[in-house]
């Protein structure tokens, strides 16, 4: 089996600055999240309510999407459907050109990152300007996001100062004080907000009942992009729909505490179609499939679509903490990425990711909508072994088959134990197998010492005591 994740991670793990930045960030936010959650007495009830809302929504997704389309249209918006990334990119590009614009201001959006919107627009000569501070840092540095919530988490303040000095005019004297760096971004983007004709956003939630779109943010760039331009285009995955307005009261309690560890994020904007004399004159909603219906088709993997993109699972993951986000080679890193990426791409990308986990279960414990990530990881490992070429090959299948036979009957199991003890004896030194094992088994001993089988098994000990 080829392990793309392990190969990509090798480079990241060797970068000690990156590891220090990420360790520092994930530990900080992890501790804050715990505090923010601990003060909510009905947290577990809210999680369960969140899980049920999402589960019910997915089980009737077609009906909710049709209702959302009716509500948005009735409120003066236009709904577009995009089967895949290229469709969505073409629709957005056509709308921008149709509005007579050559540039657009963007709110941070994972969906548009997933479909490569900025690149596709650039190919048509349209500039998409990221306005979230971290996204701006990533864009100016021609870098890739490494975290769902704080995409520039792998950069420290010194690196950001150097970047701003180089790319933002008039900032040669900039210091590395975060407040001063934020001020430089404010000055750079202000005029762009005031003159932008088109804004592009994603959506955290969309309410089918009312046609209301909801985005959560901190800086005010989201309010700028969704309020000031004449034309607003929102790209959202079809799984973001919620049936009722009241469902938001659950999500708006779960998301900020899980995500930024705040009681509430500074700004949450909700809008419904177009409002006369207030905000954009045109509103377009692009509903994106982009593989989501493939995820929906697997009843055991479907819950990956429940994700509300809080990133709590990244911050507690021992694997993410060491590799950072880039090794996942996907818009969605960390545990949620490990179950989402292979499913979204129909097992054409990220197939090694379900193995990028120790199955410790921390991700499940913090998930605000109780996605059972470890179970889905195991489910996907099994599917990938069965369905994808290059996985679950001869040797592994043979070994697992033999193990399954050994575990099937007590007598076989005891004989297998005795056989293993005999086999390991020449390799054992002071209770450990630490020399390189021959062949494929060497990949285990390369990175781990193996405790040798004990001289007496539990079953033997038990039999004697009786």
């Amino acid at each position: 089996m080829r392990n793309e994740f392990a190969e990509a991670a090798r480079h990241e793990v060797a970068n000690s600055q990156l590891r220090a930045n990420i360790r520092n960030a994930t530990h900080t936010i992890r501790a804050k999240r715990e505090e923010a959650v601990a003060e909510v007495p009905d947290w577990e009830q809210l999680r369960e309510a969140g899980r049920r809302i999402k589960e019910r929504t997915m089980r009737n997704l077609d009906r909710h999407l049709e209702q959302l389309e009716r509500s948005v249209t009735a409120a003066g918006g236009v709904v577009h459907w995009a089967t895949e990334a290229a469709d969505a990119n073409r629709i957005v590009g056509d709308l921008i050109v149709g509005a007579g614009a050559r540039e657009a201001v963007k709110v941070k959006s994972l969906a548009t990152d997933e479909i490569g919107l900025n690149r596709a627009l650039a190919a048509r000569g349209i500039e998409a300007r990221e306005t979230d501070l971290a996204e701006l840092i990533v864009q100016l540095g021609e870098d890739r996001p490494s975290h769902i919530l704080v995409p520039a988490i792998h950069r420290n303040r010194g690196e950001i100062r150097e970047l701003f000095r180089r790319t933002l005019p008039g900032n040669e004297q900039l210091t590395d004080d975060p407040a001063e760096l934020a001020e430089a971004a404010r000055r750079f983007l202000r005029e762009k907000f005031l003159s932008a004709k088109v804004g592009v956003s994603g959506a955290n939630f969309a309410v089918a009942e009312t046609g209301t779109i909801c985005i959560l943010e901190s800086e005010g760039n989201g309010r700028m992009c969704t309020t000031l331009p004449e034309v607003l285009i929102t790209v959202m995955g079809i799984e973001k729909v919620l049936p009722r307005f009241a469902d938001l009261e659950v999500m708006l309690q779960l998301l900020p505490r899980s995500s930024t560890a705040e009681r509430m994020n500074p700004y949450t904007s909700l809008w419904t179609g177009v409002t006369p004399e207030d905000g954009p004159r045109e509103f377009h909603l692009v509903l994106l499939d982009g593989g989501r219906t493939k995820v929906l088709g697997d009843a055991d993997g479907r819950a990956a679509l429940h994700c509300i993109r809080c990133s709590a699972c990244l911050n507690v993951c021992p694997v993410y903490e060491r590799t950072g986000g880039h090794a996942y080679e996907s818009t969605y890193p960390g545990p949620i990425g490990a179950i989402l990426t292979p499913q979204l791409t129909g097992f054409t990308q990220g197939n090694s990711l379900p193995w990028a986990s120790s199955l410790c279960g921390a991700c499940y414990e913090v998930c605000p909508v109780k996605i059972d990530i470890p179970s889905i990881l195991i489910h996907l490992r099994s599917r990938i072994n069965r369905e994808v070429d290059g996985y679950g090959g001869g040797g592994e299948r043979l070994a697992m088959g033999l193990l399954a036979r050994a575990f099937a009957r007590p007598g076989r199991y005891e004989r297998a134990q005795r056989f293993g003890r005999w086999l390991s004896r020449p390799l054992t030194r002071e209770g450990w197998i630490s020399r390189r094992l021959p062949g494929a088994l060497g990949r285990w001993t390369d990175v781990r010492d193996l405790p040798a089988p004990s001289a007496e098994t539990f079953r033997e000990w038990w039999a004697q005591r009786r």
Partner: protein, 219 residues
């Protein structure tokens, strides 16, 4: 086949395991099930709510003051003075009693352009509802609130909250906001001034939205 039909067809095919007659939305039945029965209403009295709200807002570094309804003019003038603000843009239906002397007032009518809005020292509005537990104010483009750009572009936002507008938790706020949402009005939830934690997770107050938030609780 249109993209719409294609996607809806794929969704239906993907859900082959779900029975056709399954109810379309999760009906919230709190009494039937304790596992998801979250708190829908608080128990604090109005005085305790105002105190909690002021406390939580303060943690976001908003400035919170309290005033008698008759004394709102001077309280607003004091807020302006704290930030050296001498020009305020206001919605057309702002109550007369809020217009403190010594401040230059300009109504947003006809709608000012974005550069003009940016030029004001501050904006003064009311709000629709305030949430004590999270220190949040919500604007719904209703009475004394004006359009969204008004409270976005000037660097100072002064917001007057009636004590009776404060609820304890998020669900109570949603109950009050439902009519506005159903009639298509935009909602803005504001919890402290604009902020970012994008650089080494250090919180910096004030990026693009107003960098200073003054809240006056009128009792």
């Amino acid at each position: 086949m249109s993209s719409r039909e294609l996607i809806l067809g794929r969704v239906r095919a993907a859900l082959a395991d779900v029975a056709d007659d399954e109810p379309a939305s999760w009906i919230y039945d709190r009494d039937a099930d304790e596992h998801s029965r979250y708190a829908r209403a608080g128990s604090r009295d109005p005085e305790a709510l105002a105190a909690l709200f002021a406390d939580r807002c303060g943690e976001y570094r908003a400035t919170v003051t309290r005033a008698e309804r008759a004394g709102l003019g001077p309280a607003i003038a004091a807020a302006c003075a704290r930030h050296g603000a001498s020009s305020l843009v206001v919605p057309t239906d702002l109550p007369e009693a809020w217009r403190a002397p010594g401040v230059e007032w300009r109504e947003d009518h006809p709608s000012l352009d974005v550069h003009a809005l940016s030029g004001f020292d501050g904006a003064l509005t009311g709000c629709a509802v305030a949430i004590a537990l999270t220190g949040t104010i919500v604007l719904d483009a209703g009475e004394a609130q004006g359009r969204r750009a008004l409270t976005l572009l000037p660097d100072l936002h002064i917001c007057v909250i009636g004590e009776e507008q404060i609820v304890e938790g998020v669900p109570e706020a949603f109950e009050r906001l439902a009519p506005a949402a159903r009639s298509g009005r935009p909602l803005t939830f504001i919890s402290g001034p604009s902020a970012t934690s994008d650089i080494e997770l250090k919180r910096v107050e004030g990026v693009h939205g107003p960098r200073r938030l003054e809240i006056v609780i009128a009792g």
